[in-house]
């Protein structure tokens, strides 16, 4: 069962220097319950795609169905079914963790009592209980990320979008976050769509990878299938595979160091 399917999805930004085709004709299928790694070089159109799929940005072309709802005609339906964590997160540093979680519940139309209860539950699930009365600005990077994710899980979405969730986290927090993502999928069947620049993260976490470049899908498959097909061997590193796919030449292994 596909939870996301897009056909020719496109977005062209109008800028002072003329139109910029950020996403051009994206065809994409995401299956229910999978962890999908969405990879691509800077400027490939990853964030633009995510913002379209989460209804933040209207497509300028193509069509998409997200969680059974048409993206263009039923954005409200899409919003009810999806959670989204932007790169920057989305909490006010001056507000306490509890207030942010309760407000988020209320934004999803829970009653005051339900929202308070849900905030406690989420804090418990994401190990934030001790931090409930702290201001969001006083949390560590890893704690902040857990809060961002808790906010996105408020309405128990079937589909969770994470935009570079581990950027800037220390190795321990990254490992915790990977466990959290796996747990979400294993325990709740949540489909996770995540972008990342860390290829080890994609390798360790994703069931399937979709690689985009210049606004279109250039390769997709399981990490091992991609390594075999594009990296030349199943033992190839994902780094080499990625470079082979996107045509960005890696520095030759035996290149003379610049510094002498």
């Amino acid at each position: 069962m596909a939870i996301i399917s897009t056909a020719g999805l496109a977005h062209t930004f109008r800028t002072k220097n003329g139109p910029v085709d950020a996403v051009r004709g994206l065809d994409l299928t995401v299956r229910e319950g999978e962890i999908l790694g969405f990879l691509g070089p800077n400027g490939a159109g990853k964030t633009t795609t995510l913002r379209m799929l989460t209804t933040l940005l209207a497509p300028t072309g193509g069509a998409a169905t997200v969680a059974g709802r048409d993206l263009v005609s039923d954005p409200a339906g899409v919003r009810r079914a999806c959670g989204y964590v932007a790169q920057s997160g989305g909490v006010d540093p001056q507000i306490t963790v509890r207030e942010e979680l309760v407000t988020q519940g209320r934004l999803y139309r829970l009653t005051k009592t339900q929202a308070t209860q849900r905030a406690e539950e989420l804090a418990h699930d994401l190990d934030l209980t001790e931090l409930l009365d702290r201001k969001a600005g006083a949390l560590s990077g890893g704690q902040r990320r857990r809060l961002d994710i808790a906010m996105a899980l408020t309405h128990r979405p079937a589909l969770l979008f994470l935009d570079e969730p581990t950027t800037g986290l220390d190795p321990g927090s990254r490992a915790d976050l990977w466990d959290l993502v796996r747990r979400l999928r294993d325990e709740h069947g949540t489909t996770v769509f995540l972008t990342t620049h860390y290829l080890d993260e994609a390798d360790a976490l994703a069931d399937r990878l979709v690689i985009v470049d210049r606004g279109t899908v250039v390769a997709e498959g399981t990490p091992s299938a991609l390594k075999l097909r594009h990296g030349g061997s199943i033992d190839a590193s994902l780094q080499d595979t990625f470079l082979a796919i996107t045509g960005r030449s890696a520095a030759p292994a035996d290149a003379t160091p610049v510094a002498v």
């Binding site: 919003r79 989204y84 920057s88 997160g89 989305g90 507000i95 934004l107 999803y108």
Partner: protein
């Protein structure tokens, strides 16, 4: 749902205002300085119109408070865009109109509160005006802040940096203040300036407020003031709503 969401957003931002009590009082400072150091210069001048010079000056200062305060309201949304708060709310089912209304109603509350403080200070300085007139004045302040707040938030959603936003607002608000006769009535102006000021919507508001402050409620000036204030608010909220519905910020 619109009511529920508006109340929610209003509460969130009102709590934000209450957390920074200093900023809440600081907003009154500029008009207060005018009141104390500029107001006394006018007491013996022939300004035309009825009533004392305070009945002329205070309505202008209240609108100045709203004009400068509300037109910079958008700054907060530029900060929130950077924090990701705006996008986080926009992926929830919350009403887009509520995201705007909750904010502008908070602003109206804050500026009416500041207007009350300013009127109390003016009474100490020598203002005497009928209570209904003063209350009508607060209604004009509220309508003005709703209008300018909406436009300011709409602009802030469109621009990406504070450096684009600040100068634009300054370039609009300074001439607006001067051309609407907030400090001194435009009836003192030469014909060309008086004529020019009629293209500035705030002129109708300040003239109506000055009528209210001397107890003349059933005048054509009042009618024009109400029509312009309500029309401006309706137009601005419409523009703001359109931007909040469509902009992917």
């Amino acid at each position: 749902m619109l009511l529920h969401d508006t109340a929610l957003i209003y509460g969130r931002y009102l709590r934000q205002s209450l957390r920074s009590r200093f900023a809440l009082l600081f907003g009154v400072l500029m008009p207060l300085l005018y009141l104390v150091f500029f107001g006394p210069l006018l007491t013996d001048l022939p300004l035309g119109g009825q009533g004392s010079s305070w009945q002329l000056l205070v309505p202008g200062l209240l609108l100045q408070l709203g004009l400068f305060g509300a037109s910079f309201a958008g700054f907060s949304i530029i900060i929130e865009k950077g924090q990701g708060v705006v996008e986080r709310m926009r992926v929830t089912p919350v009403s887009r109109l509520a995201l705007l209304l909750g904010r502008v109603l908070r602003d109206a509350t804050v500026f009416v509160f500041q207007a009350v403080l300013l009127v109390l200070a003016a009474v100490v300085m020598g203002l005497r005006a009928p209570l209904p007139g003063v209350l009508i004045g607060f209604a004009f302040v509220a309508l003005l802040t709703v209008s300018l707040g909406s436009l300011s938030y709409a602009l802030a959603m469109k621009v990406s940096t504070p450096t684009e936003f600040g100068p634009t607002i300054n370039a609009v608000s300074m001439p607006s203040m001067l051309l609407s006769g907030l400090m001194l009535p435009m009836t003192l102006a030469p014909a060309w300036l008086d004529a020019l000021s009629h293209f500035m919507p705030f002129r109708y508001l300040v003239d109506a407020m000055r009528d209210a402050y001397v107890g003349s409620y059933a005048t054509t000036t009042m009618l024009y003031g109400v029509l312009v204030a309500v029309g401006l608010a309706a137009l601005s909220v419409t523009v703001g709503t359109r931007v909040f519905r469509t902009t992917g910020a």
